[in-house]
């Protein structure tokens, strides 16, 4: 068992935590980059490709922002009250009376679930894109948190 795990015959090398000196690095590099021209072409293509991608993203953001601005300008002309509400910013640290009243109806896990959805807070449970989907798939059976008064007593 011991012999299988730690065989005696092994090369003795002088080592350092930062790695070993590697005399064949130029030879290896030559195998990867075959010519200067090829490398420069690839690099230039990459810059062009990245720029096209970046431009497309910026154009999309601009299009969305312009659309939002047009809507806000229109709302200002249409209804002053609605415009003031739309431009006011919610403070997630100071919950208003309406929210406090709403939170009073919940207790325990349900209360914490409702507190995670206070206006102005970013939801922590928003899923981050992954390379492969989750094994369980989408959660279709989600139900809104129950108020304390709606819960049945006992078991």
């Amino acid at each position: 068992m011991r012999a299988a795990l730690y065989p005696p015959s092994r090369l003795d090398r002088s080592t350092a935590p930062t790695g070993l000196h590697r005399p064949d690095a130029p030879a290896a590099l030559e195998r990867v980059i075959t010519s200067r021209e090829a490398h420069e072409t690839i690099q230039r293509a990459w810059v062009v490709f990245s720029k096209a991608k970046r431009d497309a993203r910026e154009a999309e953001l601009k299009r969305k922002f312009d659309c939002m601005k047009r809507a806000m300008d229109d709302l200002e002309k249409t209804d002053g009250r609605l415009y003031r509400i739309a431009t006011s910013k919610p403070d997630p640290r100071a919950t208003d009376e309406e929210t406090q009243e709403m939170l009073k109806q919940y207790r325990g896990v349900e209360k914490r679930a409702m507190e995670a959805r206070i206006e102005g807070l970013f939801p922590r449970d928003l899923r981050i894109p992954t390379d492969t989907p989750s094994r369980d798939g989408w959660n279709y059976d989600w139900k809104p948190p129950l108020k304390t008064s709606e819960k049945s007593e006992g078991f």
Binding site: G19, H21, A28, E60, L126, T132, P133, K143, P144
Partner: protein
């Protein structure tokens, strides 16, 4: 490998626009409000299912990253295994074997590094060799999930698992002759804020079983249209719809089957096929291309 990347690069350089630029078409309002009639203010929710999968890299991106990885490998020092593994242990030998394969993949089968890691191919004492063991273990590993879901194959537009790489938007169908497919919407009540009206209408039309996060109080777009002369809402001459953005985190739309008869989770291009052209002109700027 390199030749393929080189050809891709050349193609990329000759084709200047890898991504077509979208032209910005300005929204033309129909601001003809008659003096005696009012405009109905309507709030609508654009409910978005954000992508659940990372985007598939472009073939050029894939090749470029592999190329950069090979360059990095060629100029970096090999790992000092004595520091990180117990000398002579099974783990060290296993790493050495795998590392050897990675070097062969990067620099070619005939490339022999000057400083070799201790790789033994033949098992001692008649046992299986380490390479065989690794191969066996690879077969036992759990396979990763497929990136295309069953809903993509069956073209089930009600599924939230479909088109994982794309942004999906909730469209609902109303039981009437014209303008059947729209985003969930409804009129604003007196003394009600627009963003609250949007959420209220969403819950009324699509049921409470959705975990929704609304992004903000500001509308992300608007759409105005006149009512027909024989419209039932005779006190108004037209409507102004303000759109608000929300994200769905869990749950599913459960329509009441009275006002709303059907729903669909669609990508931007698919929405164009469902809605009327004038509605599409108003909403297309708010939706993500990917």
């Amino acid at each position: 490998m390199l030749l393929e990347l080189f050809q891709l690069s050349q193609r990329c350089l000759t084709r200047q626009q890898a991504f077509p630029r979208r032209s910005i078409i300005h929204f033309n309002g129909l601001a003809t409000v008659a003096a005696d009639k009012k405009t109905r203010i309507v709030a609508s929710t654009i409910l978005n299912r954000a992508p659940i999968l990372t985007p598939t890299p472009h073939p050029f991106e894939k090749e470029y990253y592999a190329y950069q990885e090979r360059i990095a490998r060629s100029i970096s020092s090999p790992l000092p295994t004595d520091v990180y593994f117990k000398p002579g242990s099974l783990l060290e030998r296993r790493f050495a074997l795998e590392e050897r394969q990675r070097e062969k993949d990067a620099f070619g089968q005939d490339f022999t590094p000057m400083i070799g890691l201790p790789v033994e191919d033949v098992g001692k004492g008649g046992g299986k060799s380490l390479a065989d063991q690794l191969e066996e273990e690879a077969g036992l590993e759990e396979k990763p999930q497929q990136r295309t879901h069953r809903a993509d194959v069956e073209k089930d537009v009600r599924s939230l698992d479909r088109a994982g790489e794309r942004n999906l938007y909730l469209l609902v169908k109303k039981d009437r002759k014209k303008d059947t497919w729209k985003f969930p919407q409804g009129g604003v009540e007196k003394n009600e804020a627009l963003h609250k009206a949007a959420v209220r209408e969403l819950k009324e039309e699509c049921g409470p079983n959705m975990d929704v996060w609304m992004v903000g109080r500001q509308p992300i777009g608007h759409y105005e249209h006149p009512y027909a002369a024989d419209s039932t809402k005779s006190e108004y001459n037209g409507a102004k719809v303000y759109f608000f953005k929300g994200h769905i985190l869990a749950g599913q739309c459960t329509p009441d089957d009275k006002e709303i008869v059907d729903f669909a989770w669609l990508t931007k291009e698919e929405i164009q096929k469902y809605v009327e052209p004038h509605y599409w002109e108003a909403v297309k700027d708010m939706l993500s291309d990917f």
